[in-house]
């Protein structure tokens, strides 16, 4: 690739050149941002930037530009740093001004008493990879990257723990990369191997992470966590935002050394240092080799993390949408057929599952979230059916997590994030999820027994999540409410103990003798291209606008009054709430952006079918409330 890519390899050089030109005119900061933004706007240029998500840390050059797709897990206190400092040039012995922005460490001999020192403010965010990101999304992101990764020369693969073959692999891999133009970009296979490398790499440190908790929301997550230093627009970021961050990677080992060093005699005289507990130091200054620092130059909020969709809201996106809208109805039909198979031939449940998958909290009216559609699939067959079902859902959505609601997990797992005042950080919980994550609650795993107090708290938190789409983070002296937007799917045998917007009892039409095999065959029968279409469809349908005309409003009102006339007990305000959501989702699923009379009738119809089914179930079971 041409050498003009200095802005990727040596971004600090660009920054410093601009600083030198500026003559301390403060406008240079804006110019730097402008420059990088401009570079990244260029076609495809952002795909040349290596991503921390795909490339293992030791392959990345320190102080180069990297990107990171992540969730803001915690926000630390703002810190003051030397924006500009004065130092003595060792060769000329003259005082020079240096820029301290986008750096962790100053060069030697800082004159602390200089009048030219400018103190500036920045904030640190603790970022983790998007929790529950599906493997296919990760892989697809990795493949689309065209970054040329040159391993740093200092990297020596550790030989002790690896078998010979693996070693070989590790050694040849970088060499392959070093050769210019081996056409590595499109080569998915070699990429795959490489993306596997980090996983084996990161498990090693995570083994010793007992003393260093990387604080991932979900158990069993991997990948780098990152301390992102944010310089501009601090107020525009919120906790749990998903971002794609472009920034300068800093892994200076000094960062670690400073943290480790402790001289008790110094502590006595300078209590400023003793203020931080060891826990706090560990949380805020972890070794840079495990948690790299990233100095943010540019951040793009991610509306979704589906790699198959154009990510930026540009012209190509609208073109993409309009071209896909034509296909919408046919893809829907195929997807419905697929889901029907998966749900053992139950078409109605498939329809509802489809609606659930495209639901989205689109707005809030005072405390009421609108658009949420929590589905309770009751009557699920036992024995690993739900597990397979989750795997299929996982294949379709970019972000998902299956919470097996066994007594043990409910009693022991931390769902709600909690502030740890000793370490001064927010300890994550499984409900700290990115927007539009599919949360799969498997209630079939629940057995009889006693919930302890943390279990009760967890169940309450799940109930709050479903009813209000919010999670009350525990700040020990008070609770703080964080709104969220999570699609919750509950699978259960009978009616779920959690509230839900809509319950569908599953009525299997087929009873395959071997469930595993049945589901695997269905899954295998789909081509990747087909599955990809489904993925695009589900992400896209969610983003469409929607409205109701006055005329249809009137019709809906009339309808409601009529229904109530016949039997006021049967239809309540809650039912109307639900039917309005169903109608909305039904229209969107067909690519229609306004509610038509037909759409309303259809919504009414399927809701009636569903209700008659639940009634049936009730009379069957008798004692169910």
């Amino acid at each position: 690739m041409p050498s003009s890519h200095d802005w990727i390899n040596k971004p600090l050089g660009v920054v410093e050149a601009m600083f030198a030109q500026s003559n301390s005119n403060p406008e240079w900061e804006a110019k730097v941002l402008e420059y990088f933004k401009g570079q990244l706007k260029e076609k495809e240029s952002h795909s040349w930037v290596p991503s921390l998500n795909d490339v293992p840390l030791h392959y990345l050059k320190p102080n180069s530009l990297v990107k990171f797709r992540c969730l803001v897990q915690d926000m630390f206190d703002p810190e003051f740093y030397m924006g500009v400092y004065e130092t003595v040039d060792p060769s000329t012995k003259a005082n020079v001004l240096r820029c301290g922005k986008y750096k962790d460490v100053t060069e030697c001999g800082v004159d602390l008493n200089s009048r030219n020192t400018v103190t500036a403010e920045r904030q640190t965010f603790y970022c983790v990879p998007i929790p529950g990101e599906s493997p296919w999304a990760k892989e697809s992101y990795g493949c689309s990257s065209q970054a040329r990764v040159v391993p740093s020369t200092s990297y020596v693969p550790s030989r002790q723990k690896r078998s010979y073959e693996e070693d070989d692999d590790m050694d040849t891999q970088p060499q392959k990369q070093r050769e210019p133009h081996t056409e590595p970009h499109g080569n998915g296979d070699s990429k795959r191997q490489e993306t596997e490398a980090p996983s084996s790499q990161t498990t090693a440190p995570s083994d010793c992470s007992s003393h260093l908790d990387l604080n991932f929301p979900l158990p069993g997550e991997r990948g780098p966590a990152c301390l992102v230093k944010v310089y501009e627009g601090l107020d525009s970021f919120k906790l749990n935002d998903t971002l794609e961050i472009y920034g300068i990677l800093s892994v200076n080992p000094v960062l670690t050394v400073l943290g480790e060093e402790k001289d008790p005699s110094l502590l006595l005289l300078n209590p400023t240092e003793s203020m931080e507990t060891p826990e706090e130091q560990r949380a805020h200054d972890p070794p840079a080799s495990l948690v790299p620092r990233l100095h943010m130059l540019y951040a793009r909020p991610l509306q979704h993390n589906n790699p198959l969709l154009p990510s930026a809201p540009t012209e190509d996106q609208s073109a993409f949408v309009s071209s896909f809208l034509v296909e919408m109805a046919s893809v829907r039909a195929e997807l419905l057929a697929y889901l029907t198979h998966v749900l053992l031939g139950d078409g109605l449940a498939a329809e509802y599952l489809l609606l659930h998958l495209i639901s989205n909290v689109y707005t809030r009216r005072d405390v009421l979230p609108l658009g949420k559609f929590t589905l309770n699939l009751s009557g699920c067959p036992l024995n690993s059916y739900t597990e397979r079902l989750y795997q299929i859902v996982q294949q379709l959505v970019p972000c998902s997590y299956r919470l097996s609601m066994s007594l043990h997990t409910m009693n022991s797992m931390r769902l709600v994030p909690k502030k740890d005042y000793v370490a001064n950080r927010l300890v994550s919980g499984a409900l700290q999820l990115a927007r539009n994550t599919s949360l799969f609650l498997d209630e079939t795993q629940l057995e009889q027994g006693q919930l302890d107090s943390s279990g009760v708290r967890n169940i309450t938190a799940l109930g709050n999540l479903i009813s209000w789409q919010k999670v009350d983070y525990d700040f020990s002296y008070h609770q703080m409410e964080f709104p969220c937007n999570i699609n919750v799917l509950v699978t259960s045998e009978g009616r779920s103990l959690l509230p839900s917007d809509c319950q569908v009892p599953l009525q299997p039409q087929v009873t395959p003798p071997n469930m595993e095999e049945y589901l695997t065959t269905i899954h295998m029968a789909q081509f990747t291209s087909q599955i990809n279409k489904f993925r695009v469809y589900l992400s896209l349908a969610r983003t469409l606008d929607y409205s109701i005309s006055d005329e249809v409003t009137k019709a809906v009102e009339d309808d409601f009054v009529d229904m109530r006339k016949d039997d006021p007990q049967s239809v309540t305000a809650e039912d109307l709430h639900r039917m309005l959501v169903v109608a909305r989702l039904l229209s969107l699923s067909l690519g229609q952006t306004t509610l038509s009379r037909d759409g309303w009738m259809r919504a009414k119809h399927i809701d009636m079918l569903r209700r008659s089914r639940t009634e049936q179930q009730k009379s069957l079971n008798g004692n169910e409330p």
Binding site: V105, E107, M480, E557, A573, E574
Partner: protein
């Protein structure tokens, strides 16, 4: 460097002409006097030979909160920063023009100004609790000085807003150069004090503690420009460290000749003297710990209070150092206002390393703490967190209040997503405003409850929880609990052993936390009896008595309770009374001012409006909604303003109207032999009327307020206290748990049973089932087993019979 304690003239102002290279000034008196601001201060404060009780006689005390004495020479305003000797020279020449280096503070003028402020400042409109008992038309701070002379606590708290209103320039200097200005203030106040009270003896010289600097109110808005300035922020204490003894002055003694010298600790470092100045031995000086001077220091972590945080971000924390007597003044969990100096310290350089982290550590050296919630445990004054309203805001609120339909406007702005239930919303609105607090403790009746309690009961799915959630989000001190998940302990308070200090600590629960707020309790019916029983005291006496683990106390819990309950049979049974439907003890029910039923009204017009409302909810854009309704923020401010500033009182007509209303209510029942109103209902009416007057921003409760209170109360009664058998409103359903007709029937059944048994003649024992069947056969009305058992119990109470197992014996 430090002078030995007691040499007052040396330390007071923190201005020094010395540079680090100069030897400590221990014996050269002339130079000291040169640098002392007293040279150009008032001549009255001459030092030599004053007795113990003068300025000179009283020991000065170090102020580590202002940092170590900085190298801050005074310089001529227009000359270059000169060397130390030059400064001395120019001082003598130019007198008044001198300022402290790096600032525009002239010590003499500053002192004069402050003394003038102390002598003249009057604030007739003051309503701060600190000033209670002072004559507001006399100079405020002179009275405080008098107080100091009596009490002997040498601390003078100064409200910065007073300084600002008196002399804006002085205020600016105070904010910008606290480190220089506060010592000057100290000096000024001591001169003034000892001039006025020459005989008083204080522990140490008076220290000025400014508070309420208006510069910054929010931790989030601190930025590099605030460094070394005086700021006030609010927050909550989350952690306090143990006491740190910090060396202020090191004491060195020569091992050879026993000559000693003192070295002041400068920014955590001691410049150890290498040579003994007496005997010139090299490296002979040793640090003597127990003769060095230490000061107390404590590290406190403060977190942003949840109220002033933008949504979706985590709270910030700041480190605060407390010194000397401010140590251990606050505990974790306290909400405080801190006034202090904001500091940024570069990360210590490490000689072994060429590169350093380019980050500063920041902290606040605290000068003054003010707890914002300290009055919760004692005192009975109004809300202490004085919410500041800007002029324009107040104007907007007043404009709104002057509209004739403000009551309806506000009630419709309440939870717009919930349809209709106008009266319930109105009730909740009045609850949000609350009545006027009355204190009759002098006459022995204690406080009267001002808070309105409301119970909502009704079918599941009638958005009761949603209403509760809304209220919880609306009020600043709201708590939301569910009856299912809370225990008595969680509601009241519990005693916990602090893991660090091993002390017993009282942790407060939801009811105490929502003091002056609203406690929303969902699923009230699911609460265990023991939990519910703690509510009895809270809901009438507004206090909470605790006696556990050696802690016996009474906490204030002036909270309004908004509860929601579901009927026992999941669906409301219109044939039953409220009590029967929700199965709550009537003792508790009678403590609710208003009990509303949230039922599905079943008529077509309502359905149509409901449908319209819901559909609109789903597709109207944000802007349209905002046009239609009042902003939630305005509503919040409106309520906060009314609660703080409006205290309506009953006028003559209104009292008459209330009396009439009460008499009327009593009359309704008396005709049928029932009591339809109790004094508690009268109190409810008064509270509601007062709340309604608050809604109008009116200082008087007038007849219209009483009318509305009556109407609302009647509506609520009509809904909840109607006897389903007769259709009459019967308050005894709520007060005794049983309607009068039901009681009458019970008596009738018992009489019939007795008669039947008597008619059977002398049979000492009877079969239970047999008797039941007989009674059923005899009576025209259907008799249920419950009724039969109740009758048996009634007869047993009369000692007429006993029931043992399946047999009934006559006595």
């Amino acid at each position: 460097m430090r002078q030995p304690i007691g040499r007052s003239e040396n330390w007071q102002c923190g201005v020094r002409t010395t540079t680090p290279s100069m030897p400590p000034l221990t014996s050269t008196g002339l130079e000291v006097d040169m640098s002392s601001p007293l040279m150009y201060g008032t001549p009255s404060s001459r030092v030599e030979g004053t007795p113990r009780s003068g300025v000179g006689g009283t020991p000065a005390r170090q102020r580590p909160d202002l940092g170590s004495i900085r190298k801050a020479p005074q310089v001529d305003l227009h000359s270059e920063p000169p060397s130390a000797d030059g400064a001395v020279a120019s001082e003598q020449a130019l007198g008044q023009k001198l300022v402290i280096w790096g600032t525009d503070v002239n010590v003499g003028t500053c002192k004069e100004k402050f003394q003038r402020f102390l002598q003249r400042f009057i604030d007739p409109a003051s309503n701060e609790d600190e000033n209670a008992g002072l004559d507001l038309n006399e100079p405020l701070y002179m009275q405080k000085l008098e107080e100091i002379s009596v009490v002997g606590e040498p601390v003078l708290n100064v409200n910065c807003s007073h300084v600002q209103s008196f002399d804006a320039d002085l205020y600016r200097q105070l904010i910008s150069y606290p480190q220089e200005v506060i010592p000057t203030f100290d000096m000024a106040v001591n001169e003034l004090f000892f001039e006025r009270f020459p005989d008083s003896i204080l522990e140490h010289q008076i220290q000025v503690r400014p508070y309420n600097a208006l510069k910054t109110r929010n931790m989030r808005s601190l930025n590099p420009e605030d460094i070394d300035q005086m700021i006030t922020i609010s927050g909550m204490v989350i952690r306090t460290s143990q006491l740190i003894p910090e060396m202020q002055e090191a004491f060195f003694q020569c091992q050879v000749c026993a000559f000693f010298t003192r070295v002041e600790v400068d920014r955590g470092r001691i410049a150890e003297p290498a040579v003994c100045r007496n005997c010139n031995t090299i490296h002979s000086l040793a640090l003597i710990h127990n003769r060095s001077a230490f000061s107390d220091k404590q590290m406190i972590k403060v977190q942003e209070s949840p109220d002033d945080m933008p949504a979706g971000q985590t709270p910030h924390t700041t480190i605060v150092y407390a010194h000397n007597d401010l140590v251990d003044k606050v505990q974790p969990g306290d909400r405080i206002n801190i006034t202090g100096i904001y500091r940024a310290v570069p990360m210590r350089e490490n000689p072994r390393q060429s590169n350093v982290k380019s980050v500063y550590k920041t902290h606040i050296d605290v000068i003054h703490f003010r707890k914002t919630d300290e009055k919760r445990l004692h005192g009975l004054d109004e809300d202490s967190d004085q919410k500041l309203f800007t002029e324009e805001r107040v104007q907007i609120l007043k404009e709104l209040a002057s509209k004739p339909d403000v009551y309806d406007r506000l009630s419709s702005a309440l939870a717009p997503s919930i349809y209709e239930h106008e009266d319930i919303k109105k009730g909740i609105l009045l609850q949000l405003f609350g009545g006027t607090r009355k204190d009759f403790s002098q006459t022995g009746r204690g406080n009267f409850r001002a808070e309105v309690n409301i119970l909502l009961c009704g079918d599941p799915g009638t958005s009761k929880s949603q209403l509760l959630q809304y209220v919880f989000n609306l009020v600043p001190r709201g708590q939301y609990t569910s009856g299912k998940g809370s225990s008595a302990v969680g509601l009241t308070a519990y005693v916990m052993k602090d893991p660090e200090t091993k002390q017993l600590v009282l942790q407060t629960g939801a009811l105490v936390l929502s003091d002056n707020g609203i406690c929303c309790i969902d699923e009230f019916d699911k609460m265990s009896d023991s939990t519910r029983s703690v509510l009895h005291e809270v809901m009438e006496q507004q206090t909470l008595s605790i006696a556990k683990a050696g802690i016996i106390c009474q906490l204030n819990a002036r909270t309004s309770v908004l509860a929601a309950a579901n009927p026992v049979e999941s669906q409301w049974n219109p044939k039953k009374t409220t009590i029967e439907n929700i199965q709550l003890p009537h003792t508790l029910l009678s403590r609710f001012d208003l009990i509303f039923l949230m039922l599905d009204p079943q008529d077509e017009a309502y359905d149509r409006r409901l449908a319209h409302h819901l559909v609109a909810l789903y597709y109207q854009s944000e802007e349209q909604i905002e046009e239609e309704f009042l902003d939630m923020a305005v509503l919040k401010d409106y309520i906060a303003y009314a609660r703080t500033y409006i205290n309506p009182r009953l006028n003559e007509e209104a009292s008459q109207a209330l009396i009439e209303a009460y008499v009327d209510m009593r009359k309704i029942g008396s005709g049928r032999g029932m009591v339809s109103a109790y004094p508690r209902q009268l109190e409810s009416l008064i509270r509601l009327a007062e709340a309604h007057a608050k809604v109008r921003f009116s200082d008087k409760v007038e007849t219209i307020d009483v009318e509305e209170a009556k109407r609302l109360h009647r509506e609520a009664l009509k809904q909840s206290a109607t006897d389903p058998r007769t259709g009459f409103v019967d308050i005894s359903i709520l007060t005794t748990g049983m309607s009068a007709t039901a009681r009458k029937r019970k008596e009738e059944v018992a009489r019939a049973l007795k008669k039947m048994i008597q008619s059977k003649g002398k049979t000492p024992a009877m079969k239970y089932q047999q008797l039941f069947d007989d009674l059923r056969g005899q009576s025209e009305a259907a008799i249920t087993k419950d009724m039969f058992e109740e009758a048996l119990r009634a007869l047993a109470d009369e000692d007429y019979l006993t029931v043992t197992g399946k047999t009934v014996r006559l006595l």
